[in-house]
């Protein structure tokens, strides 16, 4: 038995001091974590540049490749794919980026160091989510600016559409961040993390209406995609940017906002459960 006991002399002064001081609130430490994450991101210049350049370059490429409109709806392919590129960039940043960063934090000793403090894992996750939302917002702004300047995109015209854009982006970022954390808890090392996380991300991008008009995909693939979040994020973003005329070319002739929210929240809850049950600050090879 190993014990550390108070000596006769005791340290009553320091003990009472510790008892009287309150632990910092989870909101405060979450913000501290968020600021640290943002600082670490913004100080890696090439990471910042390439993160924001990717959606812009993809949009410009798509603008060169695709012409014509989707099923005589008056919506051009270029505009249709803007929603997909934004959704795909968001998932790349949140799901792949966060998952890899968890593995990296494990490899570089950050997690072991945090394990020695009273920090709650939830505050650590919140810091990741704050960074993911900040990066996503920047990517969306970059993509929208490109879309408006080069591809004839019109910004949402009504407050209701801005509201849709807002809740879809926030819910999508938070859900994909939690999925990334859950996946990051399961991968073994930073080196394998890219390979492990890119596979589901790329497969979902192909079947969720990022690179192809969703309604034109084989029905089987549509059903598979409908299980996962990316299809719903794309659909939610289309509903914010594109006119209701496009509904004629959607598989169900509705934007299905309720179902989008339901699917994303379901994934959010499922990944939260995985995170809470599997997350350990330290991983030991012998267990």
């Amino acid at each position: 038995m190993i014990t550390t006991q108070p000596s006769r002399a005791g340290r009553t002064a320091s003990v009472s001091r510790t008892a009287s001081a309150r632990l910092p609130s989870i909101v405060r430490v979450s913000l501290v974590r968020g600021i640290v994450e943002i600082k670490q991101f913004t100080r890696q210049r090439e990471y910042v540049i390439f993160t924001f350049a990717l959606p812009i370059i993809l949009l410009v490429l798509f603008g060169q490749i695709f012409h014509g409109e989707v099923d005589h709806t008056g919506v051009s392919f270029r505009q249709y794919f803007i929603a997909g590129i934004i959704a795909s960039g968001l998932m790349s940043t949140t799901f792949v980026g966060v998952g890899v960063s968890i593995a990296a934090d494990r490899d570089d000793g950050t997690l072991i160091r945090l394990a020695g403090t009273p920090l709650q894992p939830a505050a650590y996750f919140a810091g990741k989510a704050i960074l993911a939302i900040v990066i996503s917002a920047g990517e969306v702004a970059a993509a929208l600016a490109t879309g408006v300047a080069l591809l004839g995109l019109h910004l949402p015209a009504t407050p209701a559409r801005w509201l849709t854009l807002g809740w879809v982006l926030v819910l999508a970022s938070v859900t994909c961040t939690m999925l990334g954390i859950a996946a990051g808890c399961l991968v073994r090392s930073t080196r394998s993390a890219f390979a492990v996380l890119n596979l589901p991300y790329l497969v979902l991008s192909f079947i969720s209406g990022v690179y192809f008009v969703f309604a034109r995909l084989p029905a089987g693939l549509q059903h598979v995609a409908a299980i996962f979040p990316l299809k719903w994020i794309c659909q939610g973003l289309r509903s914010a940017f594109l006119p209701d005329r496009l509904l004629a070319a959607e598989p169900v002739h509705s934007w299905e906002h309720g179902r989008i929210a339901l699917v994303l929240v379901a994934w959010l809850v499922a990944s939260l459960v995985v995170c809470v049950r599997t997350f350990r600050w330290q991983r030991h090879p012998d267990r």
Partner: protein, 272 residues
């Protein structure tokens, strides 16, 4: 896999206690169990009055941890690193004072990745003590330090101990255990093989080694009564005994003997 078995220790508040042993002896496993960062299969533990496996955040706020692995996250400055860790604790030390205390005042605005290995290790220590812990765990804190940096580090730890911080450190350096710790437990193969003050462990009561040259070659005998042995040798030789030496084991000899690395060497010596 059983990494440690049969470790039974009591450490008092305000004590500096060292777990001394070779690599793979189970020091880190022991310390991680005490920190609550590793599960144990069996046994009873009480750290600051709580079982580390069950203890909550209030308990964690009272301990400080310097893990064995070194910080590699490099984009923050020293000041930012220490300051953000201080924000996790209810009653932290002033980050600038801690940075001064570990001797990094001039590097406070330097990013971690620009620091040398020894400087980064001092950042680890700063992060470990910024929460003003009652109990500090140091897992091989000075591995990779140059001698001067080690001396400075020892002074820092002695200062913390003087302020009343209980310190449990692991080390495979004997001189470090002797310089810092009031008591030392020697661990080998996952077991405690000896506990005592550094002076106890290197005690002069231990058997002495008498070596000499006989006509058939070098001889040596381990005995608790070296004087008798030498007198007997002198009678047999009828005068001066060739190549006579009488040695007491140093702390280092005693330690090497405890962890079992010199057993076979001594036997070889005795047979010659």
């Amino acid at each position: 896999m059983i990494a440690i078995d049969g470790i039974d220790l009591e450490i008092d508040r305000g004590e500096v206690f060292a777990l001394l042993g070779p690599n793979g002896a189970g020091k880190t496993t022991t310390i991680e169990i005490l920190e609550g960062n590793r599960r144990r299969d069996a046994g009873e533990i009480s750290v600051l009055g709580a079982d580390p496996a069950q203890a909550g955040r209030e308990w964690r706020a009272r301990i400080g941890v310097v893990p064995q692995t070194q910080t590699e996250a490099g984009e923050l400055t020293v000041r930012e690193m220490v300051a953000h860790f201080s924000a996790y604790f209810p009653d932290p030390r002033d980050p600038d004072e801690v940075i001064e205390a570990v001797g990094l005042g001039e590097q406070a605005r330097t990013r971690l990745r620009r620091l040398s290995g020894g400087q980064r290790r001092r950042v680890d220590v700063a992060v470990g003590i910024v929460g003003q812990p009652e109990l500090l765990f140091l897992d091989e804190p000075t591995t990779g330090f140059d001698p001067q940096a080690r001396r400075r580090f020892w002074e820092l730890i002695a200062g913390l101990a003087d302020d009343g911080t209980t310190i449990l450190l692991t080390t495979h350096y004997l001189d470090e255990a002797a310089a810092l710790a009031g008591r030392v437990a020697v661990i080998a193969g996952g077991r405690v093989v000896a506990v005592g003050t550094p002076a106890d462990l290197g005690s002069t009561d231990a058997a002495a080694m008498v070596c000499w040259q006989s006509t058939k070659g070098p001889r040596s005998v381990r005995t608790a009564a070296p004087t008798d042995c030498v007198m007997k040798l002198a009678r047999e030789a009828g005068g001066e005994v060739p190549g006579l030496t009488v040695t007491r084991p140093s702390l280092e000899d005693r330690y090497l003997e405890l962890i079992g690395t010199t057993t076979s060497a001594r036997r070889d010596g005795a047979q010659r």
